[in-house]
């Protein structure tokens, strides 16, 4: 970082005042929407209680973090963004999360800059002292809105983080020895999307994969209930089997509180597996992930993994 700052000064960039990370000031994502999904378990989406007590089955947790800041502004107000991304698989041993293997924790720091916008001289100067990643498509030409460049940088950081998460997930699915709790979906996780070991748990619900009357079924799920499974498909992602699961009683909270959407590989997915995976996830409700504000849907193992990544990246 110090080297990058020196290089930026030499390149004539104006250093930016330190402020909040880009992640906290990101523009609003796509508007919430409903999207119908094809039922996979039966003919229609129904509500079923999870059969059996919570069961400890998760062997490891995967999460990633990212942090971006505008470090300086180049000529013409071009934002030069410093991004830190990390992802890690933390294995559970004797009720404690520990590092699994060295390459299961990935950390990278780089300057995310629009190469065409800053010019080759500055690009080379920065590249000589630190890792630099281009935020533009090849042969893309300006002019650009500065905020658009910032958004592209943020997007590049996010892609980098997702790439790390995918690499870690694939590593576990190739060499791990038990179910992997993945924070977020697995549809974009490469080979992991087809592995019986990867279990994606999605906490945010900008898109609800139901429509019509089934919306109320999901919103009225009670603690320990799930929907039947459906198939989630996306153009650039692998199809996965998915279902909604209510982890905690939402009374006195909003209807999405304590609700997660589970993703597993389509191969081998069936009602029995959906029930078993749901029991595993219900077991992860304790201990609670407080003080994280997302504790209603967040597993403590994921919180610990995030804390671990924050510790090793600071």
């Amino acid at each position: 970082m110090r080297d990058a700052l020196r290089a930026l000064r030499r390149a004539g960039a104006a250093l930016a005042a330190s402020g909040p990370t880009l992640e906290t000031q990101a523009p609003a994502p796509d508007p919430p929407r409903l999207q119908r999904a094809e039922p996979f378990e039966g003919d229609a989406v129904r509500v079923v209680p999870v059969d059996g007590d919570p069961l400890v089955g998760i062997a490891a947790f995967l999460d990633g973090i990212q942090q971006s800041r505008v470090l300086a502004h180049g000529p013409g107000g071009v934002p030069l963004v410093h991004g830190t991304v990390a992802a890690s698989v933390r294995r559970r041993r004797d009720r404690t999360l520990v590092s699994w293997r060295d390459d299961a924790t990935r950390i990278a720091r780089a300057l995310f800059v629009p190469r065409a916008a800053i010019g080759e001289t500055a690009w080379d100067a920065l590249g000589a002292v630190c890792a630099v990643r281009d935020t533009l498509e090849p042969r893309e030409r300006g002019p650009w809105h500065p905020q658009d460049l910032t958004a592209r940088a943020l997007s590049a950081v996010q892609r980098r983080r997702e790439a790390f998460e995918t690499a870690c997930a694939e590593l576990w699915c190739a060499a791990g020895d038990g179910p992997l709790f993945v924070d977020g979906g697995i549809a974009g996780a490469g080979a992991a999307a087809h592995s019986p070991l990867a279990i994606g748990v999605v906490k945010s619900h900008r898109t609800l994969y139901v429509d019509g009357e089934t919306v109320s079924l999901v919103l009225n799920l009670r603690e320990g209930e799930r929907t039947t499974a459906f198939t989630v498909t996306s153009p650039r992602r692998a199809p996965v089997a998915s279902w909604y699961l209510r982890l905690r009683d939402p009374t006195s909270h909003d209807a999405l509180w304590g609700l997660v959407r589970v993703e597993v590989a389509l191969d081998g997915a069936n009602a029995e597996r959906a029930n078993l995976v749901s029991r595993w996830l219900l077991a992860e409700r304790s201990p609670v992930a407080l003080p994280d504000p997302r504790w209603g849907a967040m597993a403590y193992g994921i919180r610990l993994t995030e804390e671990y990544l924050r510790a090793v990246t600071q």
Binding site: R95, T96, R285, S286, P287, L290, P291, Y300, G301, E307
Partner: protein
Amino acid sequence: MTLGRVVATERKPNTPHEFHFWTALDAPVGIGTIVRVEGPATNDGRLVTVYGVVVEGFSYTDLQTPLHDVLGADGDPAAAVRAPTDRTEIRLYTAHSLRHVPDEPLQPVPMGCVHLATDDDIAIALRMDAYLREDQRTGIPIGVYRSGATQSPIYLDADFLLGPEAAHLNISGVSGLATKTSAVEWLLGSIFAHFPTQKGSVAAVCFNVKGPDLCFLDQPNDRLDDADRALYEAMGVPAEPFKDVQYFAPWTARGHALATLRSNAALADNVHPLTWGLREVLQYAEVLLNKDDVDAKADALIDFIRERVVNQEFSDALLPRAHTVRSFADLEQWFRDVLRGMEGHNAETWRTHHVATIRKVRNRLTNISTRCRGLVTDDGTANDLPWGAFRDRAVYVIDVAASEEDAQDLIFARIVSQLREQLERRTLGVDHVIVFVDELNKYAPSDGPDTYVRQMLLDIAERGRYLGLVLFAAQQFRSQVHRRVIGNCGTALFGRMDMDELATPGYATLAPATRIKLSTLDKGQLMVRHPHFAQPVFVRFPRPAVLGGRDGVERFPAEPEPSLDIAVTRTLRTLDPSVTLEWVKQAIVAAPEDDVLRARNRTLQARPDDVKAYFRAQFRTRAASEPVSVRPPSLPLAGAGDEDPYGF
């Protein structure tokens, strides 16, 4: 093996004297553990090593409030136990620096790896390396420091324990938990085993002030277990009782037996009476006379008696005859003649002393033999410690447990004064003497009147180390002892302490966790402060190799005070085993009890070759030498002729 890692935050920064480190949950670290910090190499290539002792420990999780745990477990504690993942927990310790290597420049402790201290580390950390060198070894083992697999003997520096650099030892701890007496018994054994020969000879004088505590120092302790023996072996101290112990005790008030719980006939060989006559007592009369009694006038008269009357022939026109005062009985006779002479001459003063002063001093002095009956003899017979013949590595126990407070004070004052004088003159027989006093808060209290005994203790504490006179003192409440006595003790041992005592200001320098550890110490554990140690260190010492007081009185029960003839028989048998009860009965028949006791005491004092003859001779001598009491002549009435026996 790396044990932990130093951490510092803005809120909890490290200083040169204090640092923080975290460890794994199962790391063998606790309050009192000694650790070594290896800092990174500095720019000039120096490696900084810091040694520290853990004084505080913290543990916490990522919980912000206990309610979160309740919430997560749905209010069921058992559910919390079943959680698949344990909450992240930290063990964070605070340590106080023992030593920096190199010493300069003294900087905050670096962020480095923390290791359990090895034997060599401990020697460096506690600066013991300076006095454990082969050629100049002055280490005295005080106990074993234990942490994990480490068992390292801890040594005190003899130069700082017995002088001349520093000296004196103070022991604090609640009663009954093998702290004070046991620690002293152990430490004396250690000193006797390790005190360097080039430093001279050493003996101990122990005042047994309560029960049978020190009454069996020459008897083995059969309660020693393998762990104790291992500790003795680790520290190179023989697990055996003291080889040379001599006991001294005053007689009981009746005088038939010595006032000690070591009265079993099987142990009588080395038990000696402690009796003093006028000469021995008068020198310390101030001990028994309070300031209300002794004003300047009385003091002057006492000085006069001491200088001009005692142990010399004294004549005066006032007196009907010359007096040689050698005993309280002689002194009483002298006073009687002086007062009678003054009355006869109708004089209010004699040699500038007013009659009231003379009466007061007579009352107070002659009263001593009553107040200290058993210790002070009327006839001047004295049985004393072997002044001038103290032996190296010998223990002299003065049993004052059964004595009245006045007698205790007198015994203490005179013996300590004698020790000081003889050490000063180098005539005692040994170069160093350890004086052990229990219940120091009674003899040198922080408040109350300024007594002779307290002054004496202050004097030892402040100047004794130059003479080789070393005070080992113990008490339950250190806060109640005069701070100059405490302050002059170079070494301090602490056993289990009372929480109220620990709340007093004297313990404010200890970390809270250290104070709590002090209040929960096991038997045989001590916290040690020593001039070489930058911080207190916890050690474990073995059970003493000597028979404990309670066990001793069970194995050697105290015998009831015998009849006169049996008492005399037992005493004389220690000098001549052929003495029988029948012989004694015949020898003392018709003799008054006081005469019999006097004869016994004189025989004991003289230790003649022919005990029987000497004993019998005492009665004849007394009968021959005792002046016939002559009634004072009646004053003739005027007009009566001398030759008229009926004349009135």
